[in-house]
Symmetry: none
Subunit: 244 residues, 4 copies
C-alpha cells in the first residue's frame, strides 16, 4: 500500500518533470526544438516512458497550457480574496498576473501553440475541455470583479461594452507585453528598459481612463501592492524579487 502510493507519487512527479523540461525549451528555442527524444534524454528515462505519460507530443503542449492556466487561476483566486474596493481587487489581480508571467513566461507562447489546428486536433477531448473550463473560470473570476464594480457604481462602462470586453483589454495588454518581454530581446535597445513597471503603469492609467473608482490618485496604490505581496503571495514575491 505504501509502495503503491510511493510509485504513484513518483509517477506524478515524473509527469511534472516532463512539463518542466518542456517549458524552457518552448520559450527559448521554440516548439519545433521540442522533441520526444530530447525530453526522454533530459528526463533520463526512455522514450517509451514519456509515451506512458502522454500519448503524443501535442498532449504535452496542451498539458502545459492547462497546468499554467490552472496555476494562473489559482493565483487569480488568491488575489481576488483581497478585501477592499473593486478597483483594489482588480489591482491585486494585476499583480497576480505579473507574478504569474514572471514565473511562467512560456505560458503565452504555449497558449498560441495550442490553438494551431494541427496541434489541437491531435489532443484528447478530455484535455481540451479542461482547457476551456480553465479559461472560462479564469475569465469569470476577473469579469466578476468588473461586474461587482459596475454594481457598486465604481465604474460605468461605455455604452455597448460588456465586462468581458474590458477584461479582454487587460488580458490583451498583459498577453502582448509579457509575450514580448519573454521573447523579444531587442526591447532594451529600443528604449524599453523597465517593461514590467511600464505595464503596471499602463494598466493603472487605462483603468483611470475608464474612471474606475477609486482612481489611482484617490487611494494608496503602493499600500495595496505591499499588502497583496506580503499577505497573498509571500513565496511568489520572494522567488521573483529575490534579486531585486
Amino acid at each position: 500500500m505504501v509502495n503503491e502510493s510511493r510509485k504513484e507519487r513518483e509517477y506524478l512527479y515524473r509527469e511534472q518533470r516532463i512539463l518542466d523540461i518542456a517549458r524552457p525549451v518552448i520559450v527559448q528555442e521554440g516548439y519545433h526544438a521540442l522533441n520526444m527524444n530530447r525530453i526522454a534524454e533530459q528526463l533520463e528515462y526512455s522514450k517509451g516512458t514519456v509515451y506512458n505519460h502522454f500519448p503524443c507530443k501535442e498532449e504535452i503542449i496542451l498539458a502545459l497550457a492547462i497546468q499554467t492556466l490552472e496555476q494562473r487561476t489559482e493565483m487569480f483566486q488568491r488575489a481576488a480574496r483581497f478585501v477592499g474596493r473593486s478597483r483594489e481587487r482588480m489591482q491585486a489581480i494585476g499583480l497576480a498576473c505579473e507574478l504569474f508571467a514572471r514565473m511562467f513566461p512560456e505560458h503565452f507562447v504555449v497558449e498560441q501553440l495550442v490553438r494551431i489546428p494541427s496541434i489541437w486536433d491531435k489532443t484528447s477531448a478530455t484535455r481540451q475541455q479542461q482547457l476551456y473550463r480553465g479559461e472560462t473560470c479564469c475569465l469569470s473570476l476577473v469579469s466578476g470583479i468588473v461586474h461587482q464594480a459596475v454594481g457598486a457604481k465604481d465604474i460605468s462602462l461605455p455604452p455597448g461594452m460588456v465586462p468581458e470586453e474590458l477584461v479582454f483589454g487587460l488580458w490583451s495588454m498583459t498577453f502582448g507585453a509579457y509575450s514580448m518581454l519573454a521573447t523579444n530581446s531587442n526591447l532594451p535597445a529600443l528604449g524599453i528598459v523597465n517593461g514590467y513597471e511600464a505595464v503596471r503603469s499602463h494598466l493603472r492609467h487605462m483603468l483611470d481612463g475608464y474612471g474606475w473608482r477609486p482612481l489611482d490618485a484617490e487611494h494608496d496604490y503602493d499600500e495595496v501592492v505591499h499588502q497583496v505581496m506580503t499577505q497573498h503571495f509571500p513565496t511568489e514575491a520572494a522567488q521573483i524579487f529575490q534579486n531585486a
Copy 2:
C-alpha cells in the same frame, strides 16, 4: 534591356508571391505546416526556383517579418501625416494599426517566430539589420508623436517613464489583442464579440488615463476617424470594411 527589366519585374513579382503564399499558412496552420514543397507547388515553380529567391526557409520568415513591418511603417507614416494635435495624430496611428492588423494578421505570429534563436541564427545579417532598422523606424515614428505631445504639454508622462515605454504600452495592447483575435477562435464563446471595437475603446481610455489632451470627450473622435479613413487609407479601408 526591355527584356532584362521584364525579367526583373517577374522575379520581384515571384518573390512577392512566395511571401503571399507563406502568409496564410503561418496564421492558419502554424509554422511547421509551412514547407518548401508546398510553397513551390502553390507557386507553380520548382523548389530550386524558390531557393533562388531565398537561401533557406528561415529567410522567408524573416522576409515576411520585414515586409509586413515595412508595410506597417509605411501605413504609420501615412497616418502620421495627419495634420492636427498630437493626440489626434496618435489616434490616426491607432487606426493605421488596426487596418494593418486586419490586413496582415500573420504579422504577430511571424514577429514571434523570427525571435526564435534556431530561426534567427540561420538568417543573414543583412536581413537581420533590415528588421532592426524597420523596428526602430516604426517605433521612432510613434514615439516621435509622444515627444511632440510632451513638448506641446499635451501630455505629461509619469515620473520615470520614457516616451518609448508609453509606445510599448500601445504596442502591447495591439499586439496582444490582434494576436488573440487572429488565432483564438474561442473568444466569442467567452463573451468577446467585438474585439476590434473594444481595442479602439481601450486605447482611447488608456490615453485619457494618461491625460493626453485633447481628451476623448474634448474632441470629435469620429470626425478624425472619418478623415483618416477617407483621406489617408481610402483603399485599405474599402478593402477591410467592404462587407461592413
Copy 3:
C-alpha cells in the same frame, strides 16, 4: 488439492481465452494488428500474465494453429465414424470441413502465418512437432478413406496419383474457397453469392469426375447430409445454421 485443481482449471481457461481473443483480430485486422498489449487488455490480466502462458507472440500463433487443427481433426474423426460407403464418408468429411471453416475462419490465415520463417523460427520444437503430428493425423484420416475407396474399388485413381494427392485437391479447394470467403468482401460484387453452397457442389462434381462410387446421382446426397448433421454435428450445425 481442490484449490490446486481449481487453479489449474482457471489457468487452462485463461489460456483458452487468450486464443479466443487472438482469433478474430487475425481474421479481421491481420496479424500485425495483434499485439500483446491488446491481448492483455481484453483478457483483463497483465501482459506479464500473458507471458506466463506463452513465451512469445509467435507461440500464440502456433498454438492457435494447433488448436484449430486439433479441432479440425476431432471433427474429421467424428465425421469419419459415419457408417456407409467410402464416398459417403468422404461426403461427411466435406461437411465437417465446411462446419469447421465457418466456426474457425481464421484457421486459413493462421496456417499461412505459421509457415513464415521469422515466425516459425521463434517457436518451440515441442509445439512445432504438435503441429506436424496434427497435420499428418488429419491428412491420414482423410487419405485413409481414399485408401479404403481404392481398396473397395469405389474409385480408381489416375495413374501416378497417390491418395494424398487427391486429398490435396480437396484441401486446396476448401482452403482456397474458405480463405477467400473469410477475407474477400468483394465476392458478392463479382457474382459469387452463395460461396459455401458452390464449394459443396464443386467437391461433389470433382469426386464424380474421378468416378468415385456411388456417384452423386447414385445415392441420396441430402439424406447423408441430414444424417451427418443431426447425428454427428448437432451442436455445431445448430450454432452455424441458427439463422438460416
Copy 4:
C-alpha cells in the same frame, strides 16, 4: 527530349525494381519483414527515393497486387485466344494460371494482404479501383468462356449455379493449391510430391464431373497443352520448365 525519356525509362525501371524487391520478401519472409529501409538498401537508393515512387508502404503492396493481376489478366487473355471448343479454351486458361502461379507465387499472399482493412484503408482510391477493375476483367474473361460453353450446350450448370460460381471453384482450387505450394514446405513430407500435376488433374476431373464437353477422354488433352505452350506461352514455358 531524349534525356527526358531516358529519365522516364529509368524511373519506370526503378519502380519495377521496387516491386521486384518486395516480391520475394513477401513470399519468403512475410509482410512484416518488408520495410522501407530494406527496400531502399536493396534498391541502392535512399528511402526518400522510394517514397517518391510510392507514398506509403501499403501502396507498394497494392501496386504488387495490381501488377500481378494485370499480368494474370494478360496471360488469361492470351490463353483465351486459343481457337477451339469451350473446354479446350478453359484448359488453356488453366495452363496460363499454372504458369502465372509459378512465375508469381507471391500473388496469392499479396491478394490476401491487400484485403486487410488496415492496409486497404491507407491506399489511394485510384489504385483501389485499378484492382477492382483488374479483378472484374480477369473474372469476366474466364466466366465468358463458361457462358460460351453454356450457350454451346457444352455444359449445363446445376440448377441455381451461375457461371461466376463455377469460376469461383476453379479459382478456389488454384488459389488454395498454389498458395500452399508457395508457402508450405511440409507438403512433400505429407506425400504431395507433384503438386502442380495434381492440380491439373483435379481441374480436369472437376470439369469432367460437371460434364463439360468434350470430356477429358474425348479429346487430346496433351495436344492442347502442347499447342498452348508452344504457341501462346513459348517464353513463359521455357522460363518455368527450363530445368525440367
